[in-house]
């Protein structure tokens, strides 16, 4: 039993990249200051792809008891096996911040990474940051979304993609809006995407896609919608975090 367990730990380790080994032993840093709290500045709740770096780095800030930034505090990042950080540990800069490029693990799903520092009493203060990694099916969904759906469902505009949301009389929800979308079952989503709004007594401004996209395309869209939902679709579902 014990041997099997060891072997099992072995395989999970092996399945993960060399980077995880690197992040196993973060270098010991000589902190020149200690903070009281650590907060996320940016880089949380991104949607990335398995094994690839997230678009934006994760930035955290160390503050003292009065909320002022602390320079020179040691910050250590950690995550599930396979998650890598560049750098895995660093001292906060003059604005109290540390920036690290994060690559998520090899499995599609939600990841919880943590950044920690020690306060004056030597106690660990930690902050958890959540990210999501898309696998094959969710990536297909993301691509289809960008092609067919995003201009109605995302209020953000970019020079190459002007949002159409304001032109609709009924406002669709961005797919990240878990509050609404999590309440819909997979069957509901498939019916709505395939046959359009009227299938669920909703507006015809939501067109039917069942004669344009294949069944597996629509399944991929549902997988994508589930993967990016915030709050998560399955509360308490599988999350890759450090043991």
């Amino acid at each position: 039993m014990k041997r099997a367990l060891i072997a099992y730990c072995g395989i999970t380790l092996l399945l993960t990249s060399g980077c995880s080994r690197k992040s196993k032993q973060p270098p010991q840093l000589q902190a020149t200051a200690k903070g009281a709290a650590i907060v996320e500045s940016s880089g949380g709740k991104q949607i990335g792809y398995i094994g690839l770096p997230l678009d934006q780095p994760v930035v955290v800030q160390v503050n003292d008891a009065s909320g002022a930034a602390v320079a020179g505090a040691a910050v250590y990042f950690s995550g599930a096996p396979g998650v890598s950080f560049e750098p895995p540990a660093a001292l906060t800069d003059s604005s109290g911040q540390v920036t690290s490029a994060v690559s998520l693990g090899q499995q599609a799903g939600r990841y919880k990474i943590s950044a920690s520092t020690r306060d004056a009493s030597g106690k660990n203060v930690e902050i958890a940051i959540e990210e999501a990694a898309l696998g094959y099916q969710q990536t297909l969904g993301a691509q289809l979304n960008a092609q067919y759906c995003i201009r109605c469902h995302d209020p953000e505009s970019s020079p190459l993609r002007v949002s159409n949301m304001d032109n609709l009389s009924v406002k669709p929800h961005p797919f990240t809006e878990g509050e609404t979308l999590n309440k819909m079952t997979d069957a509901d989503l498939i019916a709505l995407i395939s046959h359009g709004g009227p299938a669920l007594n909703k507006s015809a401004e939501m067109p039917p896609w069942g004669y344009t996209l294949s069944k597996s395309d629509i399944a991929a869209l549902v997988a994508y919608i589930r993967a990016v939902a915030d709050p998560p679709y399955e509360a308490g579902g599988l999350v890759y975090a450090q043991k």
């Binding site: 395989i11 398995i50 770096p53 599609a108 092609q147 109605c152 002007v162 032109n167 507006s203 039917p208």
Partner: protein, 683 residues
């Protein structure tokens, strides 16, 4: 002590009966080693673990029924697959096991293929026949290919899928980058379907380069192309000052003057009276559809089809700019740039505008003495050594063949053929990505230059290269999905010449040849009315308010417009149906009214299209307020019935309309004859 040993010996081997008995026992023990080893083998532990796991679950009975003990194997001889991975990975096909945290036992994520038909190592690499964790997953002395990291997994798809698939964005991006970075100017990549990855970086010819720019500019450019334009695709060769001096000397010395020669700028030429006129002509001509330029805020605005123009005034000679703007064919008959029909005043305005876009810092520290014959000779040697002519046309230098190693099977290159250096991960992906990222790390005398790539782009290129495996080349051809290649289609006759002169194919696809920046025109003659077409060619107003890229105004003559329109109306017709199949005279106002209701209620077309500029707002699709003047009814009807049949890949959803609905909607749309348009406020 000695006595003791002796008595022991006697006890076991004292007489022949004892000796025989003892020998048999030893043999038996030896024979038992192998089964015992088997009994304690790793995979058995995994199978026990797995059984333990499933027995605790609600669907234990079903799962246990599916479970088969012993070594499992997926064997597909024609694909060289002998994979025993399923010996330990027992839950790959069990839908209910997608919530298991142990990776070893979890259901395989959804993919479009069956594991039994494709095996595991086809995509994941690793040693399929192995039955220990270490041997299956890692590189060993006998086995070079460890499991592939997830970030390169799309390379598995790319072995069979040579076409562009929606589900593999990184593979697509990698292939695109190989093409647009010009890798295949030097490296041959022959894909498994016999096609080649063709370079699309469009390096300029240097035959007349001295007419275009100065030796000083060439010197500064070849030292650091990105210092001139951050978007430059030319890689950095890390040339020394002396080498750059000599190469620039040779390149300029080899340049031949244009025939007929450029017109010298008149000494009394004045700057255009109104500097704003240049800006507005640049805008009206939609130069930014292809060229980027930094705006006052330092932001790069524009496309990447042509070179960035932020510092064009520093690069181009004053006499070259008007010549190029007037007719680019004179300097470079192979350019992608259209021949706008600017009049003399417009040429002067635009050339003056471009000449004012300078970056004086770029040449601030460049001072070159006149070149000596020795320097020119040395420059020639360097040009040959660095393979400049692989990309650029240079007078007197032949394009070298196979200048760099062929990469058609780089994804299976044996480790014994790779030279590793410090800091490079000892694996094929490690090697390939390091080479792409920083080629000179492998030796400063190596010729491969430094490309400017983000880490993500390096990963994408590595993914595309890793797809070029032995397996891809040797597997049964039936497994392959061929790449889509450009056809050699060229339009004929006078109109054909005109279309080539206007470079329609830089943006438009026709019969499988051309770009994808603008609509496919293969069936344009069936789709539109001749009057609309001539009007549009005369004055191309935007059809899609939300697009930045627009059809430029070429200032065509009446005769040119008629020639183009006649040609397109006769030649570019679909064989699917006749253009005049549905006469508008058949529609009654009642049908049109029925169509109007369908437009606004059942199909809610107004969410993407504008039928009435006064009240509709949707702008994903083109405005339809002028449909009756633009399209033919037969086209509209067939488009409504099945848009993808007329334009594969269009995002217009097929609404599965009945014939009557499509007819009524066509009647309504054909009744819309607004000529106006409205600039939709851009957010």
């Amino acid at each position: 002590m000695k006595d003791k040993l002796k008595s022991l010996w006697r006890f076991f081997f004292g007489d022949s009966a004892r000796a025989f008995g003892s020998a048999s026992l030893i043999l038996l023990a030896l024979l038992a080693i192998s089964p015992a080893k088997d009994h304690f083998s790793q995979w058995r532990h995994y199978q026990k673990q797995y059984l333990h796991l499933i027995r605790g679950r609600a669907d234990a009975v079903t799962l246990e029924r599916h479970f088969q003990g012993g070594i499992q194997q997926i064997w597909i001889p024609e694909q060289q697959v002998t994979d025993r991975c399923t010996t330990c990975h027992l839950g790959l096909k069990e839908a209910s096991l997608n919530d298991v945290s142990a990776v070893a036992f979890r259901k395989h994520p959804v993919i479009p293929h069956s594991l039994t038909e494709f095996g595991c190592t086809t995509c994941h690499r690793g040693q399929g026949a192995a039955t220990t964790v270490e041997e299956a997953h890692s590189a060993t002395e006998q086995w070079e290919q460890p499991l592939l990291r997830a970030k390169y997994i799309e390379s598995g798809c790319g072995q069979c899928h040579l076409e562009k698939q929606t589900a593999t964005p990184f593979l697509n991006q990698g292939r695109q980058l190989i093409s647009t970075s010009g890798c295949t100017n030097c490296h041959t990549i022959k894909q498994a379907d016999g096609t080649y990855i063709v370079p699309e970086d469009d390096p300029p010819s240097l035959k007349h380069v001295a007419d275009k720019t100065t030796r000083e500019w060439v010197y500064a450019w070849i030292k650091d192309p990105q210092a001139y334009a951050s978007t430059a695709t030319m890689p950095n060769y890390h040339l020394s000052d002396d080498d750059a001096r000599d190469i620039s000397a040779f390149i300029i010395a080899q340049s031949a003057p244009l025939e007929p020669p450029l017109q010298p700028v008149k000494a009394d030429a004045k700057a255009p009276a109104d500097p704003a006129a240049g800006t507005s002509l640049y805008g009206q001509s939609f130069c930014a559809s292809c060229h980027a330029m930094q705006n006052a805020a330092g932001m790069l605005v524009g496309g990447n089809v042509g070179p960035e123009l932020t510092g064009i005034g520093t690069k181009a000679k004053p006499e070259w700019l008007p010549d190029w703007v007037a007719n680019p064919n004179h300097y470079d008959p192979a350019t992608m740039m259209p021949h706008y029909r600017f009049d003399a005043a417009q040429v002067a305005t635009l050339a003056g505008f471009l000449a004012s876009k300078t970056e004086p810092d770029f040449l601030a520290n460049v001072h070159l003495d006149p070149a000596t014959p020795q320097q020119i000779e040395h420059g020639k040697r360097l040009v040959l050594e660095n393979g400049c002519a692989s990309c650029h046309e240079i007078n007197g230098i032949k394009k070298p063949e196979n200048f760099a190693p062929e990469l058609s099977r780089i994804g299976s290159k044996p480790m014994s053929q790779l030279l590793f250096v410090e800091g490079v991960e000892r694996s094929l992906p490690g090697y390939v990505s390091a080479k792409v990222r920083n080629p000179r790390a492998f030796g400063s005398s190596l010729k491969m230059p430094q490309f400017k790539l983000t880490p993500q782009q390096v990963d994408a290129i590595t993914t595309a290269l890793l797809a070029l495996t032995d397996r891809a080349q040797t597997q049964p051809p039936a497994m392959r999905i061929a790449s889509v290649q450009q056809t050699k289609y060229e339009p004929a006759g006078h109109a054909g010449q005109l279309m080539k002169d206007l470079r329609c194919f830089t943006c438009h696809m026709i019969n499988g040849h051309g770009g994808d920046m603008a609509p496919d025109l293969t069936w344009e003659g069936t789709a539109v009315q001749r009057d609309w077409l001539t009007q549009f060619l005369k004055n191309p107003e935007t059809l899609r308010p939300a697009l930045i890229r627009r059809m430029p105004k070429f200032n065509l003559t009446e005769a040119e417009i008629n020639s183009l329109a006649d040609y397109m109306m006769t030649v570019y017709q679909t064989p699917q149906f006749d253009r005049d199949w549905l006469p508008v005279s058949e529609f009654t106002p009642a049908t049109a009214e029925q169509g109007r209701q369908l437009f606004y209620s059942k199909f809610a077309c107004q969410s993407c299209h504008i039928a009435d500029f006064a009240k509709d707002k949707g702008y994903i699709g083109p405005a339809l307020a002028g449909t009756g003047k633009r399209f033919n009814a037969a086209w509209v009807y067939h488009w409504l019935k099945d848009p993808q049949a007329l334009r594969p890949g269009t995002i217009e959803p097929n609404q599965h309309m009945t014939d009557d609905e499509a007819r009524a909607l066509t009647a309504f749309l054909m009744s819309l004859k607004s000529t106006g348009s409205k600039e939709v406020a851009k957010k």
